[in-house]
Amino acid sequence: MSLNVRSWLDGRGPSNYVAGDFKKRTDGDGLTGQGGCVADKNGPDGTGKTGRGKQHEADIRDDDLERRRRDLEASLATRRPDRLEGKDDAKAGSVAGYGQALKLSSEFIAGIVVGAALGWFIDRVAGTSPWGLIVGLLLGFGAGVLNVLRSAGLVSEFGTGDKPRDPKE
């Protein structure tokens, strides 16, 4: 897994992978090389020449295989997260969306309700009606928006001015 992540961090994106694959084909080291291999194998076998030549071919084939395997690994590493994410979205789309909508709306409404209630309470205690309610409602609106953004992971958590946590879901 660490190897996958490293190769991903190296910037071997899908475009890199395609370029590498293309280069390999034009080099003549990949597909054509293998084709040559097969033809050669038939040749020496017919003449009865074994040993060093065959060993050499095997080396080439192993190298080739090794490199192909690495390329495949890299390409899988770049594609796997995407595919998993896509699957999750597709599977949990309706239910998670419903949950998310309820979550965000309850956060927003709670902010406004609490702001208005605090303002109303201050009005009752201090007799400043209707200014407490008005200011409380406006501040509550701000708090509601903040709640929604925070719940969606777009604003930093409480007490931190740093970057927000990674967005939830």
């Binding site: 239910v95 949950g99 309820l102 979550k103 309850s106 956060e107 409404i109 709670a110 902010g111 309700v113 609490v114 702001g115 605090l118 409380g136 501040l139 509550g140 701000g142 708090a143 509601g144 903040l146 709640n147 925070r150 930093s156 958590e157 409480f158 007490g159 931190t160 001015g161 740093d162």
Partner: protein, 252 residues
């Protein structure tokens, strides 16, 4: 009586079972209290009995208990770190209570205690009360740093602090409203569709044939409600963990 049967709100009525009045206060033992007791009894009995054998290779029930334990444990450790594990009994009790209450509510003729906002608000107030009390005893007035984000210009500070305070106070409200609204809406929907089945099948052969549709819907909704019961218990526990994290590390 017939009107009662199709009334979707009827199931949420609180009826006293043993009337108790002390000093002008109504302290009756109601169906809500009965089901709270039943929830605690079922949760405790399940956990106690399923772990009583304590075999090294867990059986089915024991592995369910262990999964619940590890699930809540990992949740708390992820959100609040290893220091947060001192709150594990609290979070685990809350999770089990809400989960069992939600699941018990799915049985026909059972009372859903989490569909009353005063119950969910009581639970949420417990959470926020714990956060505030623990935050102040652990950090003193440093806990108030929670409301002061870093890097805000001084002239904006009063406004931002006010908004942060309102945002903090709105947490128990949104926590309780979310659980309550989910359970209430789900049970009303279920009741309405089941009511369609009853009233349609009273219309003769055509009605019986037509009542298949709302019946299928009621079955599908029951499955959805089962999911919601788990999901809301999970959400409640996760948010509790996040709030406890604020009490443990205000201002980080």
């Amino acid at each position: 009586m017939a009107a009662d049967k199709v009334d979707p709100i009827h199931q949420f009525q609180i009826q006293p079972i043993i009337p108790i009045h002390i000093g002008g206060y109504d302290l009756s033992f109601t169906n809500s209290a009965l089901f709270m007791l039943a929830t605690v009894a079922v949760a405790s009995a399940f956990l106690y009995l399923s772990t009583s054998s304590r075999s090294l290779v867990p059986g089915r029930l024991q592995s369910v208990s262990e999964m619940a334990y590890e699930f809540v444990g990992n949740m708390l450790r992820d959100a609040a770190g290893t220091q947060g594990m001192k709150f594990f009994p609290f979070v685990f009790s809350l999770f089990m209570f809400v989960l069992v209450a939600n699941l018990l509510g799915l049985f026909p003729y059972f009372f859903t205690i989490t569909s009353h906002i005063i119950v969910t608000f009581g639970l949420a107030a417990l959470v926020i009360g714990t956060v505030v009390v623990y935050g102040f005893t652990k950090h003193g007035f440093g806990f108030l740093k929670l409301f002061v984000p870093h890097g805000v210009p001084v002239y904006l500070l009063p406004l931002v602090v006010l908004i942060e305070v309102i945002s903090f106070v709105s947490r128990p409200v949104s926590l309780s409203v979310r659980l309550f609204a989910n359970m209430l809406a789900g049970h009303i929907t279920l009741k309405v569709f089941s009511g369609f089945v009853v009233s349609l099948s009273a219309l003769g052969a055509v009605g019986v044939a037509g009542s298949v549709l709302p019946l299928a819907m009621a079955v599908a909704l029951t499955a959805l409600e089962l999911l919601v019961a788990f999901l809301q218990a999970y959400v409640f526990a996760v948010l509790t963990c996040m709030y406890l994290n604020d009490a443990l590390h205000p201002g980080h």
